[in-house]
C-alpha cells in the first residue's frame, strides 16, 4: 500500500470522487491552474477541466453561496476556503443559509456540499493563517464538522463528506499536510462521520483530541508511559456529530479526561466535551476534567509553540490529573 502525505490523500479523495461522479465540482481561489496554495487540488484542473475545477473570484461569501445554489440544483460542490481564517467572509451564508436550507424549506431542499479549509497553527503563519474556528460551526444545527488527523482518515472522511446528504465543514490540519504520512489504499473506501478512532490504549488518563493535536498527545503519552502513567488517546475525527459513546467508554475506563485542542479555551469544543462528561459520567471521575487549549488571545506570530498546546503542557495536565 502506498505511503502518502495527508495533502495527497485529500487530493486522491477529490480525484476519485470526481472520476466516479460527474456531479462533483471543485471550486475556490487558486484551486485550478495553481492546484491550490497547498496543492490539495493539484492535477485536477488538467484532468477535469475548467468547468469542474473552477478558479473563482476572490469572494468567500459568494464561493459558499454559489456552492449552495449548485447543491440545490443537484451537484455535489466541494468549495475550498483558502485558509479557515478567511471563512468568516462566508459565515452568514454558511450558518444562515447553508445550514438552514433543509430546515426552513421543510425538507424540500438540502445542501449536500463540502467546504474544505486548512486550519490551525504551527506554520509560522501569524494571526490570519493559523486560527481554529471549528467551535463557531459546531454551534450551528444543520452542519456537520469533521477534522481528520491521518492520511487514511483524510481520504475516507472526505469521501464520506462528499457523499453526505448534508453540508460538511471539513477542516484540514495544515501543519501536518506534508509531515504526516501514512498508508492509504487506492480506490474506494469511506470512514464514517460521527465515529472516533482510538489512537492508543491506556488505563490511567484519557486524552480526548483531534487534528494535529493527536500527535502532541501521542508524544506526551509516550513520555508519561516512562513515568509509569498509562495514557489513552482518542481522536474524535468528527466534532458534529461527535462520538459520545467512545467518550463515555474512555472516561469510564480511566476516570481522568483531558481535552486537548488548538482553539482558544473559552467556549472551545473542549467546553462541550467537559459538560457532556460532567452531565453523564460525574461519578466515574477521579480527577477534575482538564482542558489544554490555545490561550484566549488572538493567535500570535511569535512564540506560537508556546501558545499552542504541546507535549510539555499536556504532560503537565496528565501529572495534575494523576496527583489530584
Amino acid at each position: 500500500m502506498a505511503v502518502i502525505p495527508l495533502a495527497q490523500a485529500i487530493n486522491q479523495a477529490l480525484r476519485e470522487e470526481m472520476r466516479r461522479d460527474d456531479r462533483v465540482i471543485v471550486m475556490g481561489e487558486d484551486v485550478g491552474r495553481r492546484g491550490g496554495v497547498f496543492l490539495c487540488t493539484e492535477g485536477l484542473y488538467e484532468e477535469f477541466g475548467p468547468d469542474r475545477v473552477i478558479d473563482t473570484p476572490l469572494a468567500e461569501s459568494a464561493i459558499v453561496g454559489v456552492a449552495l445554489g449548485m447543491a440545490i440544483y443537484g451537484l455535489r460542490p466541494v468549495a475550498e476556503i483558502q485558509f479557515a481564517d478567511f471563512i468568516y467572509g462566508g459565515f452568514d451564508q454558511i450558518v444562515s443559509n447553508i445550514a438552514k436550507i433543509r430546515y426552513r424549506s421543510g425538507g424540500q431542499f438540502s445542501a449536500p456540499l463540502v467546504i474544505r479549509a486548512p486550519y490551525g497553527g504551527g506554520v509560522k503563519g501569524g494571526l490570519h493563517h493559523s486560527q481554529s474556528p471549528e467551535a463557531y460551526f459546531i454551534h450551528t444545527a444543520g452542519l456537520k464538522v469533521v477534522i481528520p488527523s491521518t492520511p487514511y482518515d483524510a481520504k475516507g472522511l472526505l469521501i464520506s463528506a462528499i457523499r453526505d446528504e448534508d453540508p460538511v465543514i471539513f477542516f484540514e490540519p495544515k501543519r501536518i499536510y506534508r509531515s504526516v504520512k501514512g498508508e492509504v489504499p487506492e480506490g474506494d473506501y469511506t470512514v464514517p462521520i460521527g465515529v472516533s478512532r482510538l489512537v492508543r490504549e491506556g488505563s490511567d488518563v484519557s486524552l480526548i483530541t483531534y487534528g494535529a493535536m493527536v500527535y502532541e498527545c501521542e508524544a506526551a503519552a509516550e513520555k508519561a508511559e516512562k513515568e509509569g502513567i498509562s495514557v489513552e488517546v482518542l481522536d474524535l475525527r468528527s466534532l458534529l456529530p461527535f462520538d459520545g459513546e467512545a467518550i463515555i467508554k474512555t472516561v469510564r475506563k480511566t476516570g481522568r479526561p483531558i481535552i486537548v485542542h488548538e482553539a482558544p479555551k473559552i467556549c472551545g469544543f473542549g467546553a462541550e466535551i467537559a459538560a457532556f462528561i460532567a452531565e453523564r459520567e460525574i461519578l466515574s471521575l477521579q480527577s477534575p476534567i482538564i482542558r489544554v487549549a490555545g490561550y484566549d488571545t488572538p493567535f500570535p506570530l511569535v512564540h506560537e509553540h508556546l501558545y499552542l498546546p504541546n507535549e510539555r503542557r499536556i504532560l503537565d495536565a496528565i501529572r495534575k490529573a494523576i496527583s489530584f
Partner: protein, 360 residues
C-alpha cells in the same frame, strides 16, 4: 431599452392614463393579459386579508406587496415552467403568478399540518414543485444561490434560467456585489430582478446608494442593466422576457431595476408614519399598477366595470373560503421542531426529541 437608451427615464409601455406605446407592446393574448390582471387583483386582495389576519392575531407576520404587483406578476409571467425562482420575503404575487394555489400560501401562513415549510420559518412560501426556493430572511442571501444554481444548469447544458428577486436595500450588501461579479465572470444564465420600492424599512433609497439608478451598477460587472417602470406590468413583463430569453441563449445575466413604491409598511410590525409623509404615499397611489393596467384593458375593450366587480366578488369568496379551510386544519405536532435538521437524525437530536416527548 439598455441603460444607455433609457437614460432619460425608465422604460414604460402603459402610460398613467392607460394608453400604450403600440410599438413596444409585447405579444400577449387577451386571455394571458386577463390572467395577469386577475393575478394582480388576487395578490392585492390576499395581501390585504393577511394584513387584517395579522392584526387579529390569526397569522404571525406578513410583508405586504401592495403597490408592487406589476413588477412581480409581470416578471413572473415571463418565466417558463423550467425556470427557478429565488425570491426575497415580499414576493407573494410572484407565487400567485407562478400558479401556486392560495390554499398552499394560507397553509403556510397559518402554520397548519399542511404547511409546506413544516412551520420552520416565516418566509412566505417555497416549493420544489413550483421551483421556488423559500426566501431567506437575511437580506440578499438568495442572490449568490441563484447564481450557483444558474452556473450548475449551464454546466449540465440545461435550459433552465434562475431569476432572483431583491429590493433596493439588498444592493448595499456584499452578497449582491459578489454574486453579480460571479455572474458576469461565468456568464451565468440568471436574471437579477431588483424591485426598487424606495425604502429599506425606514431608510430611503438615498441611504443605500449614491447612483441615480440601481440598473447602472450592472455596467461595473460587465453586463446589461435595464431600468423599467415597476408599476407598468407590460414593461416589467417585456424586460424580463427579454432577459430570460437572452440568458437561455447563453448570453449571460441581466440586472433589471423595477422602479416602484411600497405603499404599505415594511411588515405588519412597521409604522411608516414615523418616517414618511402621507402625501408621498398618496402621490404613488395615483400610479397604482392595478388601476393603470385596468385602464389599459378597458380602453382596448377587453375589460369592463361589470367584469371587474364580478372578479373582485369571486376573489373575495375564494379567499374567505380558503382562509376558513386553512384555519380548520390541525396544527403541526410539537416534535416538528426536530424534523428536517439533517437527512438522518444524529444521536444528540434523538435524545433531545425524547426529552421533549417525555415532558409534554
Amino acid at each position: 431599452m439598455s441603460i444607455i437608451e433609457c437614460a432619460m427615464g425608465a422604460f414604460q409601455i402603459i402610460s398613467l392614463d392607460g394608453s400604450a406605446d403600440e410599438e413596444h407592446l409585447p405579444e400577449l393574448s387577451t386571455s394571458q393579459m386577463l390572467k395577469m390582471y386577475r393575478d394582480m387583483v388576487l395578490a392585492r386582495r390576499l395581501d390585504s386579508w393577511l394584513m387584517r389576519l395579522q392584526r387579529m392575531g390569526r397569522v404571525a407576520i406578513h410583508a405586504p406587496s401592495e403597490g408592487q404587483e406589476a413588477a412581480m406578476v409581470g416578471s413572473a409571467h415571463a418565466l417558463e415552467t423550467e425556470d427557478w425562482v429565488f425570491p426575497s420575503y415580499r414576493e407573494m404575487p410572484v407565487y400567485i403568478a407562478r400558479g401556486v394555489p392560495i390554499s398552499e400560501l394560507l397553509n403556510r401562513q397559518f402554520s397548519n399540518e399542511e404547511d409546506p415549510l413544516h412551520g420552520h420559518d416565516m418566509a412566505v412560501y417555497g416549493s420544489r414543485r413550483y421551483q421556488i426556493i423559500p426566501a431567506p430572511v437575511p437580506v440578499g442571501m438568495q442572490i449568490p444561490m441563484a447564481v450557483g444554481f444558474a452556473m450548475a444548469a449551464k454546466y449540465r447544458g440545461e435550459k433552465a434560467v434562475a431569476i432572483t428577486y431583491f429590493g433596493d436595500g439588498a444592493t448595499s450588501k456584499g452578497d449582491f456585489h459578489e454574486a453579480l461579479n460571479f455572474a458576469g465572470v461565468f456568464k451565468a444564465p440568471v436574471v437579477f430582478f431588483c424591485q426598487n420600492n424606495q425604502y429599506a424599512i425606514s431608510c430611503p433609497y438615498s441611504r443605500q446608494t449614491a447612483t441615480k439608478t440601481i440598473a447602472e451598477k450592472a455596467v461595473a460587472y460587465g453586463f446589461e442593466g435595464v431600468w423599467v417602470d415597476g408599476n407598468d406590468i407590460l414593461a416589467c413583463y417585456s424586460a424580463t422576457k427579454r432577459a430570460i430569453e437572452k440568458a437561455r441563449r447563453g448570453e449571460g445575466p441581466t440586472l433589471i431595476e423595477a422602479f416602484t413604491y411600497r405603499l404599505g409598511p415594511h411588515t405588519t410590525a412597521d409604522d411608516p408614519s414615523r418616517y414618511r409623509e402621507q402625501a408621498e404615499v398618496e402621490k404613488w397611489r395615483e400610479k397604482d399598477p392595478i388601476a393603470r393596467f385596468k385602464r389599459f384593458l378597458v380602453r382596448r375593450g377587453l375589460w369592463s366595470e361589470e367584469d371587474d366587480a364580478k372578479l373582485y366578488e369571486e376573489i373575495e369568496e375564494d379567499i374567505k373560503r380558503e382562509i376558513e379551510q386553512a384555519e380548520r386544519k390541525q396544527p403541526l405536532r410539537p416534535d416538528v421542531i426536530f424534523a428536517d435538521v439533517y437527512g438522518s437524525e444524529p444521536w444528540h437530536l434523538a435524545e433531545e426529541r425524547d426529552e421533549l416527548s417525555r415532558l409534554i
